[in-house]
Symmetry: C2
Subunit: 305 residues, 2 copies
């Protein structure tokens, strides 16, 4: 039945091969964009690289590059956008993990940045990666429909005080409180959906997508992003620390509002599934070119860690 | 004698009136660029505005707007650049003041951001102002010689891990150590000179300056920036807390490397003066149009707080 609902997902699509190729290409591009580890002052570049190369799944770059493909473009043209987004994502993790925020000791199975380099350097490494993102985008080539400043405006809005940072603030303020589901949805929209949505948008814009393609990518990105965060909530209550690579059950311990806590596990799973269906629907106009985006969305819904 | 050496500085230049007008214009523009205080989530916008409107001297915006004037342009065309730079400057102060960094309780005579809003929000308010800077620049109009992405590249480099953040890292690492004067100069170049230099460059670029004008502005900005920081060091050892509006003598207490500590007061004053002379020399090609830039440089060298 699933293949009927999502006709453009080929059963033979080699997603793990695709993700491996994304990781290799993005790692290589990031290695070129970031100052070398020995560049003075070495501490900050070591700290930036420690978190950038800490084994992230490169989900946002993958979605960015797959969106470029869906619009008929090539990876190389969207690589700057993919790397800029990964810099923003990594900076937000470094700062979120700080003792003054979520106070996490582990991330992706490794000690968090401030546990290795100290809080001062961790704050600065986050700042530096945030700044690096805009430097990378500013050097990207102009397209006839979209200029580098369009990319930067999109990324700055998605990462700014009305979206990514808004989500983190609302999250901090909700800690230990019982909040309505609408407030939790707001947190997830800002904290996760905004940047995932921006990832697909920048992928499309990097290969000169049309206005209607951009609308479809936005709808896809928004829904996948929200589903992704709900699944994160679900995994936190159902998985072990070992499998997640971070401290599991932490959300429950610190009485953080989560979808399972507010809606229950089954309803949360249904909501994630409903959002993913909407995401798939948005991809129809792209037909077979959206095979990778479709497969990535399937993966996000089915993942168990 | 001074008027012979700096012929374009009119004795009748009303600098305090000029700075007042800069402050009013920049405050009004920043008020328009930043989300309103009540915008959800209100905490972050209150925190951003608390530090942006904490009574800063707007020295970087003034230098940016005066550089636009020197190139024959108008303030309004450089206002986005002036505000973006003030956002970067303010973010760097908020993060520098954190307990994990310089651990300062007062700034401009008021409690620092984290003393009012807590560390988590202070970190995020800094992040948000950094992001806001690029959002402001990305929306700036294109000039025939310089595009918004040129501005962004310049600002990202000046603020990134090779300059502004490099200076802060080197500063952190030098704490409690005796370092050679070359290392202290590197810290000052990156921590202060880079952003001041960027301020004049963006002022010129915003009004479509030529390549040779940009070179002259760069030379001016670099030298004024370095002089400015040496004077900061001098004032820290010679002034009282009340007059400075921040904790005086702190650099001595924490055994921070400063120019007076390494070179002595008189040699430090001479070095600041030498750099300012080089700055004045760079302004000669702009003739009378550089009156405000000249007056600002004079003020930076003569200030006593």
């Amino acid at each position: 039945m699933r293949s009927n609902r999502h006709p453009s997902v080929s059963k033979s699509f080699d997603l793990s091969g695709y993700i491996s190729r994304v990781c290799r290409s993005v790692d290589s591009a990031l290695d070129g964009f970031l100052p070398a580890e020995k560049t003075k002052p070495a501490t900050i570049h070591k700290a930036m690289r420690y978190s950038i190369f800490a084994g992230g799944k490169r989900m946002r770059p993958a979605i960015c590059l797959a969106a470029a493909e869906a619009c008929g473009g090539e990876w190389k043209d969207a690589m700057a956008a993919a790397c800029a987004i990964e810099c923003i994502h990594t900076y937000s993790l470094i700062h979120d993990d700080l003792p003054a925020m979520d106070n996490d000791d582990f991330r992706r199975g490794k000690p968090t940045n401030h546990k290795v380099f100290g809080e001062g350097i961790a704050i600065l490494a986050g700042d530096a990666l945030l700044t690096q993102a805009f430097e990378i985008l500013a050097a990207a080539p102009r397209r006839s429909r979209h200029s580098p400043s369009d990319f930067i405006l999109d990324l700055a809005r998605a990462s700014g005080s009305l979206q990514l940072i808004a989500g983190q603030v609302a999250d901090l303020e909700a800690e230990g409180k019982t909040i309505p589901i609408a407030d939790l949805r707001y947190i997830h929209e800002q904290k996760t959906s905004a940047l995932l949505c921006c990832s697909v948008r920048l992928g499309g814009m990097s290969v000169n997508c049309t206005a209607s393609q951009l609308r479809a990518l936005t709808e896809f990105g928004y829904n996948v992003g929200l589903a992704f965060q709900i699944i994160d909530d679900i995994l936190d209550v159902t998985q072990t620390t070992e499998k997640l690579g971070k401290t599991a059950g932490k959300d429950t311990t610190s009485k953080k509002a989560t979808y399972p806590a507010l809606l229950g596990l089954e309803k949360s799973r249904k909501e994630a599934s409903r959002l993913t269906d909407r995401a798939f629907a948005a991809l129809k106009p792209f037909k077979k070119r959206a095979a990778a985006l479709n497969a990535l969305a399937e993966y996000l819904l089915k993942r168990d860690h």
